[in-house]
Symmetry: C2
């Protein structure tokens, strides 16, 4: 049984304890005008865009970094990422007082590099290919003895990401549905576990861009279909599903629905305008599913996990 | 004694009761990276940008509308405004099921008209002069019997705006200072009253754009200096102080500090980038005072009232 090997409720509670010292307990916000734009009874938004480093990723990274035994930890942690996981790991490492090594493609946007550097990580540049990233990371790990922290295919990461849904379900009773975006599956698998343990009723649904629908295809075909040449504005959702994530998703996620690029931009803008909060395209993918009626949640109390808010304020998709 | 005529604590508590049925209890957020950019010990942000209609104005309008006796209320309410008060009054009136008449200059931005219309108000256009606005409003009031609700020079409005600081002081103990922006003085006078009644220690300071420093001048000279040809990006702070507001500000506000236009834009952008929330230029004026060290709050616990988040997302000041 898969349930015997995945993080149990105690693992998620332990993660919550580690994270509570360092992260924000993010607010849950509501918005009547968005409610009226959907058929749901009421929408609840768990605002991980207000989390430290601007994304839920800080939860998993913190749990992973603070779960390391002292001996490993003192040699540091490493990852390859150009996105939110890199910032999250950098800050988590700084909080523990250890080194973080981040392999980033040489064409990463300057603001992303600056953010990672600001949190004190050591950046190692490489060619912008997956092969170069993995090879460079391997060299760094061999040289330093740092522990590689995978951005999602890791039970400590999954247990950490699960704490967002745990807080959500503690705060808002009687949610009928939880919706999260899916990229590598760290947030989605954590959300599904938390709902399984903590809610008798909340179904878990994922939303994914049509231009990067490898998780949808994977669930349909019963095996991991790699994400090849994904094309979407939701740059946090480009990766393939992790193995550990996929097993949990297969077991505990009801379905994955898909949305258009136009729908993502419209949902993003609706949240900016109506809720006055900055969300990144990936974080707009669940609301897009409601606005496009990719899933009918008529009359339901719907919990949306707003995954992050890291955008380049010079380049907004509607300008 | 001024204290005998201004709203007492019971009036503010009554306002809170009326508002709680209709408004959000807005969250208080913190941000370590902004803390580090100032000399304060810690900053706390009371997020009225997340209030209904995107601004604190909904509090005062709701209190004013729901304080009207039934007989007056059934004839509706009216105001002249091109900004947040108009939206707030429109929604408050709709909530009570009465008409709202809003006189707006013919050159008002289309999104502002659309927002007011969306909340169900009747818009009456006039020439873009103060004289035309007042004359048109008078005609509307004479024709309909609607009650004019002033945007700030009104004790019901002041008591309503005071509820933001009341919630703030209930939630965050031991604030040393509260900072609010000042335009007509509705928010500032309410904040000062709430601090006077509810906090033994919190000093109240206001921040104002140098290009619209009539409140600063008024406090210096001991009489209301009208705002003539103000020039600032903070378009919520263009108006002159109200009489009722000025008396309260004279008595209970420690000082008014001034900030530059560059400082306002930088503070606004810092909040967007670091806190992932959308604030309008007027709402950035208090943080600008800290970033520009217009006031030294070294080592203090500083409460900032974030007044609103209504901006045109097509026209950002840094683009």
């Amino acid at each position: 049984m898969i349930i015997d090997t995945v993080p149990d409720l105690a693992a998620i509670r332990n993660a919550a304890g580690r994270i509570s010292c360092w992260g924000h307990r993010t607010p849950v916000l509501t918005c009547e005008s968005l409610d009226r734009m959907t058929r749901a009874q009421q929408l609840f938004f768990k605002c991980e865009n207000f989390q430290k480093t601007g994304a839920f990723k800080f939860r998993g990274a913190t749990n992973a970094v603070f779960s390391l035994p002292e001996e490993s930890a003192m040699r540091g942690v490493a990852t390859h990422s150009s996105g939110n996981h890199a910032q999250a790991l950098a800050l988590a490492a700084r909080n523990r007082g250890i080194d973080a090594y981040v392999v980033m493609p040489s064409n990463s946007a300057a603001p992303k590099k600056a953010a990672v550097a600001e949190y004190g990580a050591r950046i190692i540049e490489c060619e912008p290919t997956l092969e170069a990233r993995e090879l460079t990371l391997e060299k760094v790990v061999n040289r330093t003895g740092a522990t590689f922290i995978h951005p999602y295919d890791d039970y400590h990461i999954i247990a950490g990401q699960a704490t967002a849904a745990m807080e959500f379900l503690e705060e808002v009773r009687d949610l009928d549905v939880l919706i999260a975006p899916v990229g590598g599956g760290g947030l989605l698998s954590g959300t599904a576990l938390a709902a399984h343990y903590l809610s008798g009723q909340a179904r878990v649904i994922a939303s994914e861009p049509r231009g990067a629908d490898d998780a949808y295809q994977s669930l349909e075909q019963g095996r991991i279909i790699p994400s090849i040449n994904p094309c979407t504005i939701a740059d946090g959702l480009l990766t393939s599903l992790g193995k550990l994530n996929f097993r949990i998703i297969q077991e505990f996620v009801e379905r994955i629905v898909r949305v258009t690029e136009e729908g993502i931009v419209q949902a993003m803008r609706a949240v900016w305008e109506r809720m006055k909060m900055i969300i990144e395209p990936s974080a707009a993918v669940p609301l897009a599913a409601l606005l496009e009626q990719a899933v009918d949640l008529e009359g339901m109390r719907v919990g949306i996990i707003v995954s992050g808010g890291n955008v380049d304020l010079e380049q907004l998709p509607w300008m």
